[in-house]
Point group: C2
Chain length 342, copies 2
Amino acid sequence: MKKVSISDIARKAGVSVSTVSFVMNDKAVKMRISREVIEKVENVAREMGYRPNQLARGLRTGKTKTIGLIVENISNAFFASMAKTIEDEAKKYDYKVVYCSTDNDETKARELISMLSQRQVDGYIITPTLGLAEEIRKLQAENKPVVLIDRYFPEHEEIPSVLVDNYAGVTEGMEYLINKGYRKIALVTIEVDMAHMHDRLQAYYDTLKKHDISVDPRLVKQVPYGYVREAALEEIEDFFSGDGKDSDAVFFLTNYLGVLGIETTKKMNIRIPEDKAMLCFDDNDIFRLYTPTISVIRQPICEIGQQAMTALIERLRHTGTEALPENAPVKLSAELVPRDSI
Amino acid sequence: MKKVSISDIARKAGVSVSTVSFVMNDKAVKMRISREVIEKVENVAREMGYRPNQLARGLRTGKTKTIGLIVENISNAFFASMAKTIEDEAKKYDYKVVYCSTDNDETKARELISMLSQRQVDGYIITPTLGLAEEIRKLQAENKPVVLIDRYFPEHEEIPSVLVDNYAGVTEGMEYLINKGYRKIALVTIEVDMAHMHDRLQAYYDTLKKHDISVDPRLVKQVPYGYVREAALEEIEDFFSGDGKDSDAVFFLTNYLGVLGIETTKKMNIRIPEDKAMLCFDDNDIFRLYTPTISVIRQPICEIGQQAMTALIERLRHTGTEALPENAPVKLSAELVPRDSI
DNA sequence: TACGGTAGCTAAAACGATTTAGTTATCTTT
DNA sequence: AAAGATAACTAAATCGTTTTAGCTACCGTA
């Protein structure tokens, strides 16, 4: 059984294709289609179960009512919740979201953008990888709005973004640790190739300095990107039995690292907070449920999603001549959630 | 700046649109396009950054190289991992996946199917809700292949599916508990409106009977669907301080319920396994990391995803006259992972 | 009586690809 | 030298919509 097309409806209702189109798009009144014809068409369409072909519609109008969401990894809790809010938010504006994961791989990210672009999405929300700025500029040049989330390009202020104040967040966490008397604070981070991670790291250094605590470079552990779980676990374990051994607290700079951290401390029988206090950037179900519960710097996930969507919609609606929306980054604040691990 | 279309390439290369199309689709040799023209076209296309418009292509060919994946909730760990495998798997066959969540709401599920159908996806992988069989039959009638995962319609064997042997899984768990000496085994489930949950519940009853343990209906707790987190937590807490109080073990029939269970036992200071042993259907990071680690019946997520994809591809390739692939449900087995909670 | 206006539709182009059926020029063959 | 074959392309239809421009009756007015 083939799908019903607009001309099937036209034939059955005894009118032209244009008339059906007008009726289906609520332009019937404007086009002075008579009451009877409108009803006739509506009835036939309902009976035959007509659903307009969005490919054809998109081809003709140039709008697909679809936005592309590119995140690092959709199976990571942070991005999964984010995706869910964005999807719900998009629905309010009658947009559909299609999402994909870069796995933080620049090549893959490029491919994804290309794929979404070929599918003619109307706009993009992107968690960028390194080196993606050029590609994003091209999208903007094609008049496709883009909003960055979570990460940004300091040298490209013309790309709108919704960010968390990473520097302030880490500073708040560090102040808290120092206030509680911790002095030998270890830091576990991934490669700081992008600005948001650099901001977090910088806040660590600056807060230590501010309190006249000498910075011990051996207390800072960088886990390289692209390591599989097991390799990353080993790295952290090595750190805890080597350079990081006599730290009295450890600050994990991402949610994923924090989970690995829990796994390692559990395996090594490191007691929290007796042997080591623990703090993590970004929340996770596990942190709330683990014994002891783990303190975190929580990012306002819903708000990020909402603001990103608002910013995008604003730009999608901006057709032509009115004043351009501001491109200044939206900066939200992350909040310290103290729990038993400190 | 407008996008480059095939006719832009044709004009610049001084050939016809058809020629460009042949070159871009590797039909140049078959169509006897000369070496020089092929190179010319390829160069122009590369220089101008030509990317074919998939809407136009899909409209013409009737194939979008896209499959729709409908799950219950993409932010649930089980479905998130599943989605990731399916996406990776699809990529191998050069398909793109677009996914969406039903939140187990029949109306929403219908809308999602309708939306995907309007966007002309080539095939579907669906975690169905109650009452979705009719809608799915319609897709099949339109020659759009569908594969069910996780859930099924016992009265509709003609819809292919990839399932876990829920009955055997729960039986294995129950046998294990009984072997370890537990006799007052409580069960926490969601509404058993669909067959897969009914199978799990039935296995509970049957195993008890087999071991001549009397079934105490008060030990079976059903948490209604659609309850928000807090309400569901309260239900479980009430159960643990009421009817379920003197059970010596508790079996949670879904991953989500298990997480709520952990939260509740933690709050109520129920010691595991001293006060109560715990077992959960379906794994989760938390169960592996919690203290004590929680025993689970693990579903083979990757295999489900792979098999579903294989089954779908087989049907997508099946154009016309050859033998139809078998529709018999693929049944995989779930595996008991014993940990410290029992 | 002729003209303008309007109500109520329809024809046809366009969007960007794919694909079938030609067309033209050159080359073989007899 | 005529006919057929082949190499190397192209024209035009098509997919299912939207949208602009236009057509046809009929009515009112001067």
